[in-house]
């Protein structure tokens, strides 16, 4: 394995069209569409319960869409298992942080790089030299990612013992280890204090410059939304309400009524 690859500018094109998902009688996502061009940073905003996280879960295969399509670089992801989708380059973080509590910080990152060290059961059992080398490489890679998000030196700590802000960074490092073409961040700034938020914005910008991947994020904090996104999609009651350049969307009266106005 070589140093973290620069994603080629042509990869990471995510097109989501007419996504629908109902839970019982509740139409959580109702014909939602969005797209993210390679290397673009796209924000999805909307009131609570609008179906944003469900949309992420549909893209990553946690749920199967009732209808609609999810296409990454021309390959349809719909109907694939979540691990297959992840291995095709869709990384994500979670609204309510989901780290592996029984593993240490380094191991948490290594879990995601797993697909790249293809294990063979016999080799693992016999602990063959090639196997051991690839294990060691995986650990080195994981350290690199930790370094990138500023968690160097905390490899042996337990994730649940870390402050909240660092847990968010650890989730980010774990998502990086998947070497994603598209990275989905679900409310990455939730629970961070103002100085942490600024730091987080810088971190995302730095990572984006370095890896040039496509980023799609859900966020409520306008500071993050306005600072990061190239393009904005507004979701309301499972549907697309508006989309476009952040400033234009912000001034859209419909959006203000549905969402922003309600908060301020």
């Amino acid at each position: 394995m070589n140093a973290p690859d620069q994603a080629t500018p042509s990869s990471g094109h995510l097109e989501v069209t007419g996504l629908c998902k109902a839970f019982g009688g509740v139409q959580a996502v109702n014909g939602f569409s969005f797209d993210a061009k390679p290397g673009e940073i796209v924000g999805i905003i909307g009131p609570n319960g609008a179906g944003k996280t469900t949309a992420f879960n549909l893209v990553t295969g946690v749920y199967t869409p009732d209808s609609g399509s999810v296409v990454l670089d021309g390959v349809a992801l719909g109907g694939q298992r979540q691990d297959e989708i992840a291995r095709q380059g869709v990384g994500r973080t979670f609204q309510n942080i989901r780290l592996f509590k029984g593993l240490n910080v380094l191991e948490n990152v290594m879990t995601a790089s797993d697909p790249y060290a293809d294990y063979n059961f016999l080799a693992a059992v016999l602990s063959l030299p090639a196997k051991r080398r690839s294990d060691r490489q995986a650990a080195e890679k994981a350290r690199e990612y930790l370094d990138l998000v500023g968690l160097r030196g905390l490899e042996d700590d337990r994730p649940e013992a870390l402050p909240y802000g660092l847990q968010r960074k650890l989730e980010l490092a774990r998502a990086l280890a998947l070497r994603p073409k598209v990275i989905l961040l679900d409310e990455p700034a939730a629970g961070l204090n103002p100085s942490e938020v600024r730091e987080f914005i810088d971190l995302v910008k730095r990572l984006h410059e370095r890896f040039n991947f496509t980023i799609v994020f859900i966020e409520h904090r306008m500071e993050v939304v306005m600072n990061l996104s190239h393009k904005l999609f507004v979701m309301s009651f499972g549907k697309l309400l508006a989309s476009g350049a952040p400033e234009a969307v912000r001034r859209n009266p419909e959006v203000i009524e549905a969402y922003i106005g309600e908060e301020e």
Partner: protein, 296 residues
């Protein structure tokens, strides 16, 4: 005294193989896998059969023992993988409640016993004697060679397992899936493969313990019901904890031997179950103190 403790340890070592095989699956699917007993019966027979076919039942030497153990381990791994395919994969796909796994595992265990009875009858077979009844003398006490080998082979198998679990990426994947299958899949881990590998490891341990049980108790279809010993050890040690299972099993072995001396072999099992009950009521986390929620 020393001799008794040693005998207890050697007994406990076999129990720890059972308990760890049990704990591995518990860890990952959160249910008590009683089909493990069926696997142990089956492999004990498979080892015996291999011995008869390969060596005509004539040769009895220690390396023959290793050939039989290896065969049993491989057969055990394959059987457990097959059991997972037949009995559990569909349940996992449908995200069935854990109680279904539990019932499925008991069913499969009984099914295996019945299949064995059809083909091998319910007769008792005596297992080949691999080790002459010679004793080793050490520190003024004598130890039976079979006990020494039992202890050594069990420890080596467990050490191998721990190495895989804590020093390899496969082990990391197993631990990851045991914490959170859903998130693990979102990190690109193929849960099916990991579950399969876990069953293979559990089955291999079951195979090794099957041979030891056969050597200790002779061969009959219900031999695998000694899985209960592994279960007791798991409860004492803390369900789902690997180290807890080992500690619980060693303690169980020593306590059993001590109890036989104190209250006789008739009362011993009853006493053991009372101890288990006390643990369940007073300290359900077991010795290890790790809290794993049992769902069925």
């Amino acid at each position: 005294m020393l001799q008794n403790i040693f005998f207890g340890l050697s007994l406990g070592a076999v129990y720890s193989l059972i308990a760890v095989g049990f704990a591995l699956v518990f860890n990952i699917l959160k249910f008590s896998n009683f089909s493990h007993g069926g696997v142990m019966s089956f492999t004990a027979y498979a080892g015996y059969y291999a011995y008869i076919r390969l060596f005509d039942g004539h040769v009895s030497s220690s390396w023959m023992f290793f050939a039989v153990v290896t065969t049993a381990a491989v057969i055990g791994a394959l059987t457990a993988v097959a059991i997972e395919r037949v009995g559990f994969r569909r349940l996992r796909r449908n995200q069935a409640p854990v109680i279904y796994y539990f019932i499925s595992s008991i069913t499969l265990g009984i099914l295996l016993e019945n299949i064995i009875t059809i083909f091998a009858s319910s007769n008792f077979y005596s297992y080949p004697v691999f080790f002459s009844s010679d004793n080793l003398s050490l520190l003024g006490t004598t130890f039976s060679v079979a006990d020494v080998v039992t202890l050594l082979v069990s420890s080596a198998s467990l050490a191998g397992l721990l190495l895989v679990l804590y020093r390899s990426k496969l082990g990391l994947a197993v631990r990851t899936v045991s914490f959170d299958v859903n998130t693990a899949s979102l990190m690109g881990i193929d849960a099916d493969r990991v579950v399969m590998a876990t069953f293979a490891m559990s089955g291999a341990l079951g195979g090794i313990s099957g041979v030891f049980l056969g050597m200790n108790y002779s061969l009959y279809p219900q031999l695998g019901q000694l899985v209960v010993k592994g279960f007791i050890a798991s409860v004492i040690g803390g369900l789902g904890s690997i180290t807890g299972a080992v500690i619980g099993a060693l303690l169980l072995g020593i306590v059993e031997v001590a109890l036989i001396g104190m209250v006789g072999s008739g009362w011993m099992p009853a006493c053991v179950f009372v101890i288990m009950l006390v643990f369940l009521l007073v300290r359900p986390r077991g010795i290890s103190g790790v809290i794993v929620q049992e769902k069925a």
